[in-house]
Symmetry: D2
Subunit: 507 residues, 4 copies
């Protein structure tokens, strides 16, 4: 039974509250570690360690450091381990220190010290773990980017659908100005674009091959770093052997920052959704599939996934702090302190990797309650700023003077329990502030007409249909070339693996 299946079967203490089943992803994302353990860290590295070892062996043979026959034997051994691993019959032997020694020991056990004892030639655990981590992190970066591309799709779909739907905008938790709902979705999309770029920045900076760094000070074996770079789909070898060993906190910290910034975006969407779906707002309704009930109170519909997003954001920030702290004031060369960067970055990736998809689900299933939107858009003097702008445009006088008058008008109307400025109050305030502006009976209603208000804000980046279309096009192009970027990277990885297989066969 897969994890997902199992999760679907969960009997819950709040089981008969909802019509709809919760999402399987929701379950795993919010389950936490109450009933689920964390696997040994090196299980995540087995496939990367094997890839790296195979490339290392092929290179050693090419350089004449291993004989072709030795290399063939070792490759055979590594392949068998890989197959066993995929079948679930290879387990990390807990009596070994780490994945590196587990695999080497296995080879020695099988092929004797004579052959197995040669795989560590021209290699140190320092460059080996740096390699494994870069391969692992590189894949995670790709996963994050792919998941965010999917999320961008969901946002653009919503934006397309809601491009003419009005929605209240806020500042300071107070109703500020109307906007369009499409505008909101595209503001989210813009954030995601930067998040993707940060992971791409990571890729550009750290897709460098550390093999040959040894303990940090290089080797006298005549290895070929360019060759292993190709076999492992790196952009090239590290330009200094000490650097990837000394800075074994930096790829980790930079990815943690990219995650922390991304989670900050999601956590703010989460907070917005949570508040705007509270009964008193009810602008949104979060889907049953993203909610849970209570063990004691029969009536609850809790936005758990969104709350968990906020918690995991705090977790990501603390992890970043730990990673930076480990990398602070390190003495020259590798220090054991740095080993802990492994668990820190793995844990935070485990907690957040599905966050973009969770947000896609939430956004794809969230309901907008049009009636409530309409009701709230008639409150809180929401169109006063638009009225003020139109009045200034007609009048031609100074903004500051008009605004002072409007503040008074709001106060007068508020005192009478109104939520929009009345003609009478505006006239009184304008007179008091010596603003000589005459307006007819229909001015206020026209100037505050919802459709008109939104369509008039047509500047770049604004909520009008025109502006949204413009932005949408830009985003579509961004998605297109980012998808291409992803597929190119994936192709590179595939090509590297194929090249490796060919070289192995040619041994």
């Amino acid at each position: 039974m897969t994890k997902t299946d199992r999760m679907r079967k969960v009997e819950k203490l709040w089981g008969s509250r909802f019509k709809k089943k919760t999402s399987a992803l929701f379950e795993t994302f919010t389950a936490g570690r109450d009933m689920r353990g964390v696997l040994p860290a090196d299980e995540k590295l087995i496939s990367y360690d094997l890839w790296g070892s195979r490339a290392h062996v092929v290179m050693l043979a090419k350089q004449g450091i291993l004989s072709r026959s030795e290399a063939r034997t070792l490759i055979q051994g590594l392949e068998k381990i890989e197959q066993a691993w995929l079948k679930g019959t290879f387990r990390l032997d807990p009596s070994k220190e780490d994945v590196h020694s587990a695999i080497e020991s296995q080879l020695i056990k099988k092929y004797g010290l004579e052959v197995g004892g040669k795989i560590h030639t021209a290699r140190s655990r320092n460059d080996q773990i740096a390699l494994d981590m870069r391969l692992y992190l590189r894949d995670q970066a790709m996963e994050f980017i792919s998941a965010m591309l999917f999320l961008l799709g969901a946002l653009l779909k919503n934006a397309q659908r809601d491009r003419e739907k009005i929605f209240p905008g806020f500042t300071h938790h107070q109703i500020a100005q109307m906007t369009s709902l499409g505008h909101l979705w595209l503001s989210f999309a813009e954030q995601v674009c930067r998040d993707i770029q940060r992971f791409q920045g990571w890729y550009a900076r750290f897709n460098q091959n550390p093999l040959g760094a040894m303990t940090g000070y290089g080797t006298s074996f005549s290895i070929d770093e360019n060759f292993t770079s190709k076999l492992l789909a790196f952009d090239g070898p590290c330009q200094n052997t000490l650097d990837p060993i000394q800075c074994r906190w930096e790829p980790e910290a930079e990815m943690a920052f990219a995650i922390g910034a991304m989670m900050n975006h999601f956590s703010s969407w989460a907070q917005t959704f949570i508040i705007l779906s509270m009964e008193e707002f009810a602008l949104f309704r979060i889907d049953d599939s993203q909610c849970s009930g209570s063990s004691m109170m029969p009536q609850k519909r809790n936005p758990d996934a969104l709350e968990v997003v906020k918690a995991k954001t705090a977790l990501a920030h603390g992890t970043l702090a730990s990673l930076l702290s480990i990398g602070r004031a390190l003495f020259l060369g590798y220090n054991r302190d740095q080993q802990w960067t492994k668990y820190l970055i793995m844990d935070v990736i485990d907690e957040t990797l599905s966050a973009p998809t969770v947000m896609s689900e939430v956004i794809g299933t969230i309901k907008v309650k049009d009636k409530r939107v309409l009701a709230i858009c008639q409150k809180g003097f929401i169109t006063a700023p638009d009225l003020l702008e139109e009045m200034i445009q007609e009048w031609g006088g100074p903004f500051r003077q008009a605004k002072t008058a409007f503040e008074k008008a709001v106060r007068y109307s508020e005192q009478q329990g109104r939520e929009m400025i009345s003609s009478q109050d505006l006239r009184k305030a304008l007179m008091e502030e010596k603003v000589d502006f005459q307006f007819g009976d229909r001015f206020l209603s026209e100037a505050q007409d919802f459709k008109r208000v939104i369509s008039r804000r047509k500047g770049i980046g604004g909520p009008s249909l025109k502006a949204l279309r413009h932005h949408n096009e830009k985003l579509s192009k961004f998605i297109e070339y980012t998808k291409k970027w992803v597929s190119n990277r994936k192709k590179e990885h595939e090509l590297a693996k194929r090249m490796l297989r060919n070289k192995e066969k040619a041994l």
Copy 2:
């Protein structure tokens, strides 16, 4: 095979480097999570959940909310689960949400909804998890304190042994003034006292019973919170039901701070030991049992335990940051965000609980290299401050003037490659600075005699034998009454458990 046994058997890649086996504790402390997973969090809570549930049932029966027969059945069921748990035959069913539902489901399965379905009466998962966490954290606080008492013992033992051994003191990483080695150990001891007090402060603040808080808003069942407080060894019930639910980050954060401060102390000792045991200093030699070798370099002796202490300190600080961040700007009442405080605090405790004992081992086995101490204590003008003080005492003139002269004298002597001030240079400098102080030939050697120098610094807290004895006495008393405090708390816990058993029997 126990974990410890297994660890002892580890075949290491750097296996033939040392004569002495590494310490078993060293192994587990430094192993990290490469080959070791993390258990589900709720496994840590099973025994506490059972204790809390039994107390709850006994109380419900006393109050007539359950019949005595129902209570007997439930207690019987809980006991069976406990026995199965101890035997290893009760496993958390991963199809349940958490430990609370796992146990309730088990009771329902065994005794039907009719009886099993009654255990959650007058209880919510909110107060139940608050209870479990407080019981768990309380035990951890006791463990930390006990381990630090042991560490204090090791420090005092060393201090006693080294009370007349000189040692170089530093500031800014530069040799500053001589001190006694006993003085160093006692400065460490003073730090540990404050660390212990912080855990006691935690105990005083959070040993309050949250049962009856329900979801935060109390219950109409006529429960007896004072009674459950007694059965669970709490100082009393929480005075407001919302508080322990709303602040389900605060006991966690306060303990994380206590841990973070403690680890800061240890990390600074670690840094000091690491530097002072580098070959070039060789003031200390860290025991083989606390070191590891290299997979590639045959000659290495790495102070891994101490490096790991530094890494775990960074981890503790980041965890504290996450915990505080989760507790920031929470809306009224429980929020799911708070669930993540559970994993954060458990992880940091797992990583650091054995740190005091590791430090005890390091301190108990560290070797002081007397010859090197002596050599270094003749360098860097280390006794210049003492000479300056004695000169001022004899001369009677102003400190500032004398110090200016001494700075010159140091410069003159340094220019001639000396590491101590010569009579000639001092005389020259004094004359230039118009300090009218005459001294005989033996003044310099007497004023800089090691034993004399140390014995003269006899103020409270200083390095002289007299001062150390005074401090030692104070610390012995601290240890004595803290041990009593611990044993009193443990007795309270035992008495509560006995009282519970008696009440159960009387059902």
Copy 3:
């Protein structure tokens, strides 16, 4: 013109929006550093440095290290500097390194090297700054505690007033259960009690005299640390001279934690007030004196003080992280790194010291909107949990079974647009779940009557009048003895100063 006066005169861009002036405290708290600089750090230490220096001189004279005449001269000089400082004519000379050298230089300038050059005898800048910081932080701890006692008063006043006012309780941002408003205020009070205790814990741990520590390794001058402890109102001298120098991050970090935890409490109140005073809730109205307007939108009423509380909480947490990081892995003895702890702790105190008073103002002026409270308390099945409890009490059957039925009943009623369970739906659900419970027509309305619901939750810490009275009494006692604690500490400080003056006169 004082700062406060100036602030009152601020002409604001959003000036004609409110009837009521903003609070002067609000202005300074929210103003930030846009138009306000930060004074040199050592300005905060002048008075403490003078106090410490006077005690040092008197002690040196008592011990015969200074002559009485020299001591008289130095005391005279220090007094003159103090008077000049109070009059504003003594300014820190920026060509000096710090407050210590500024004052010593002044003395040397005035009384020659012969006398002025003697004040630094048996003293180092290391123990001097440790002293200054402890005196400064001790005063700040007292200020925080006093401000929180005032805040406790405001909370208890509100609690007294609102002890029978119903209020909706929440979990997961969803309406959960009714409570009393008094219950809410007292939950806040309980948090403040722990905050006060943490500052008292700080006081207990760090009110120790570091004078005589010198650079960390003591002195051969026959100083009297017990005497200076009395003159400076310390509980006694530090027991190890290295400790206060080595750990010059720990008093700072512990106070930062106490601040960070306190701010977490305030930030959660702030978040609660902000949300519950949004127009759509309008359970609270934050007073005009605590709000600001907008430069562009005429209608805004922004809860700035509360938003700023949240920002400053984040600032406090980051500061704590920095302080702990500085104290991590320090090498033996003082390191210059530690100097930065001074600015970090001073900045965070400057930003947060008035936070308790700001919260007192907000709480003292906040309006509760009874009609809205009533309206919301009829929504969201808020009394369902109480109904469930009463039904179980009458029926006598298992909670789990009844709850399952209630969940169905909620779903049925919700489908028909109701916000409370109807008799019909409950009957249907009970039947389906085979719960054999008969109830009359008035059962539902009686069981959900507001007053009755609250009064039935009478356990310790609950929202009933009885429970609130009990808690109120406990809190009043806490306030009483904490006030006594504060006044005793203040008396000790006064007595020490008086003793010092007497000793000075007797020179």
Copy 4:
């Protein structure tokens, strides 16, 4: 007297210790805020606010929103303020809220509400401050990059000079393997390249014009965002008006991360220099110009600048934590919380902006002590790994077997007090481990010859002359095109300013 002059005049309490004056930069960098205050934050923004306002006015005139005459008047007013500001006669009026209102008020005061009151048309303080901060941060990014280019120059100069100088490499604070000193400098350079790239990444992401965003929801005024983008040297307008307002923590946090990572690099160099210049190592001597003395101990030479680098690194990390925390779980739209991001990022920039230059000075003046290098390179079995590699290459057998033998050989030699493996011990160990390898008398000395050892490690990124040359070339190209990048950006800024001036003249 300028700040620098003043600093040069400082009379120090430890004044007669050194021959050489401390560096002026050292003084300001290490002085801290003891005697120096912090200016109001908005002083930093005046020039940017004026630039932005002028561009805004010119655009309003172009769009016919202002008359040309009004625009001329406003531009004249803004220019006068700018001139007064440069002359020091314009001061921020502390009775105004911020720089924006200070300038607008000044214009109103001078030209009446009629004209001055028009400048805020089609603008909000929200987009205005977002603009000011982006202009300010953009300039800081350029400063950081320029300073790091200078630092790269210093590193390459050292690397060139020291390309054939041997140096001990470390891992775990233990001597590991020899390397070349040039290799060390180039490893530092590699880190700096990534640091530069991160600031460039910032530039690419945030050099977008937020004008027109208003409160986040756009405007109905027909503004021209592309035009203002050109006048302000932005790459273009923000594509969504809500985004730069909602994410007013993100440019700040990303720059704080870039700073935090850069400081981590510097702090590790600092720690390395501090330790390796301790008397017992004395591999380096930090120049007098980068050191300070002690107020009490005449003999001290403290590496203050380097210690301060470490402290400021901790400060940078805490600031990043605060910035991320402020941006976490924000509700839709601007919140006042975000104002504090301004002070946080400004403070950390103030503390760290000169760090690259400080490191350049340290590196440019540090002395390498060749004799000590040689001495240490004969200790700690430093060439054992090279010997092992050469032996394996000659022998052709498995690494693992040879290494086991070598570990034994090290142990045997160590037992006899040697620091290098002796032929005899090696032969014994090889025999015991059944390694059939014969070697002549000169094998050991040749295989461990320093020059030979280094020259043999000729792989990419290694310490050999060949590898260093290769890396040096790559770095020179990096510097070249980054300098071009900087000068292109600066040209863009100049062109924008010139264009603005031309447009102003054409009004």
